[in-house]
């Protein structure tokens, strides 16, 4: 098998392994809050820090 295909197979193996690990740990890079990967919220008690709301249609 060609060397680049072996590299790609290893890449796929790494992707699947990382996905399995993320599922096991409940991790997601798209999370808004939580542990590692969570970016925290914009919210704080006593006020909402999420910026102005309302339609953005022009």
């Amino acid at each position: 098998m060609k060397f680049t295909n072996i590299l790609f197979a290893l890449w796929c193996l790494a992707v699947v392994a990382l996905f399995a690990l993320a599922v096991d740990r409940g991790y997601s890079p798209f999370a808004q809050g939580g542990g590692p990967g969570g970016r925290g919220g914009f919210f704080f008690f006593g006020g909402f820090g999420g910026g102005s709301s309302g339609p953005r249609h022009k």
């Binding site: 890449w11 699947v16 599922v23």
Partner: protein, 411 residues
């Protein structure tokens, strides 16, 4: 007894006993057994076993010993190499004629080139090589590695041997420079018109079994198979993942433009080492929005994780017609929440969009649902895209080369 150069000599492989014929006896330094792949020292009468190659799998498109005329000279195929660069692989045939010496027949991505080692050095001017009044533009250097070898050669060669290579091209002619620790060698290569090699060696394109001539198409198929296996593994992981579960739900009633209200929803039990928790808000707002602040607080340690969301929906009409925007069902994902017992503290406030498009509306109901072990869809999609990189790259190369399964080589 002294061998006459060019006179065939019969030998036996000491490793497997298979017969080996040295076609350029006296000139050949190493011979690779076609049966077991062992590299033999042709200069040693006892045939010392130098190195055992385990790559005796592929077979040359042009069998060793074949004879054919190119450039008006009859050549015999005495050696075969498979080599690879950074992102391309090719085959090299060593051709021999007792009076004319050696030539290289190169097969790369469906095209054939005939090469001859240069006995003089081109002059280098920056990235350009000058030879016989022609200027050859240089490519980026790359490492050329021997992946498979069979036959006989006038230099010592073995699988894994790597040299630094640079190609210089000028139309249908090119120069190849290869450097190793001992020497620098130059080869001049000329493109052969389609059909030349097949006619010269009396070959027909391989059908079905055997080595596929089109490496670009083969690489694409291989990468597609590897990616498909990876995708199947992703599906298995997704199916084996803990099932998502709605573990708590509550409804808040908000007055538009009224004060923010706070509600504690729980308990939210995390039993595994860590889990993902998604908070889903559902409301039916019209030209209004609901600001939502979430704090997931561990009851014993008071460790907290925060997030926010806005449920909103607006609609109206303007010169372009009717329009609408907003998300009435926003979801906020908490990742890697450690094992424990939590409360979700929700603070919510409803706002109404004033102005000409707004209007008064009664109280707004917001349903908050807490779902455990969910939110893997985005990650699955991301992982699937990562797996698609290989086939996409190969498909682009395939498209660039113009090759296809039915138009595989210029025999």
């Amino acid at each position: 007894m002294k061998d006459d150069p060019g006179a065939p000599r019969a030998l036996t492989c000491p490793n497997c006993g298979a017969p080996i014929i040295v076609r350029a006896a006296g000139l050949t330094v190493s011979v690779i057994c076609g049966n077991c792949g062992s590299t033999l020292d042709a200069a040693d009468p006892v045939l010392t076993l130098i190195e055992r190659s385990n790559a005796a799998l592929a077979r040359p498109l042009i069998p060793l010993g074949s004879r054919g005329s190119l450039d008006g000279i009859e050549w015999e195929v005495v050696g075969y190499l498979e080599r690879s660069g950074d992102d391309v692989e090719w085959e090299e045939y060593l051709l021999f004629n007792p009076w004319s010496g050696y030539r290289f027949l190169i097969h790369v991505e469906g095209n054939w080139r005939l090469g001859q080692a240069l006995d003089r050095l081109p002059r280098l001017d920056g990235g350009t090589a000058l030879l016989d009044g022609d200027a050859y533009r240089g490519s980026d250097p790359y490492n050329a590695r021997v992946d498979f070898v069979v036959g006989e050669f006038y230099w010592r060669v073995s699988v894994g041997e790597t040299v630094a290579a640079t190609d210089y091209s000028a139309g249908g002619t090119s120069l190849s420079r290869e450097d190793n620790a001992q020497e620098s060698s130059w080869t001049q290569l000329k493109d052969l018109p389609p059909g030349t090699v097949g006619k010269a060696f009396g070959l027909t394109p391989p059908l079905g079994a055997g080595k596929t001539a089109n490496t670009a198409w083969r690489d694409f198929v291989h990468s597609l198979i590897i990616a498909a296996i990876g995708f199947a593994a992703l599906l298995v992981v997704l199916v084996a993942a803990p099932a998502s579960q709605l573990i708590a739900q509550d409804t808040l009633l908000l007055e538009p433009e009224g004060p923010a209200i706070t509600r504690v929803i729980g308990p939210v039990e995390i039993q595994r080492r860590s889990s993902a928790v998604e908070v889903r808000a559902t409301t039916e707002v019209e030209n209004a929005w609901v600001d939502l602040g979430y704090a997931l607080v561990e009851r014993r340690t008071q460790q907290r994780f925060e997030a926010s969301a806005t449920a909103e929906y607006y609609s109206g009409s303007d010169a372009d017609g009717n329009w609408s925007e907003g998300d009435k069902r926003p979801a906020s994902l908490f990742a890697s929440i450690p094992r424990g017992s939590y409360d979700l503290v929700v603070e919510a406030r409803a706002k109404q969009w004033g102005g000409s498009f707004g209007g008064s509306q009664p109280s707004v109901a917001v349903t908050i649902g807490i779902v455990r072990d969910t939110g893997f869809g985005g990650l699955f999609l991301f992982a699937a895209i990562m797996l698609a990189i290989g086939p996409a790259w190969r498909a682009w190369r395939l498209y660039s080369s113009g090759a296809g399964p039915d138009r595989d080589t210029t025999w």
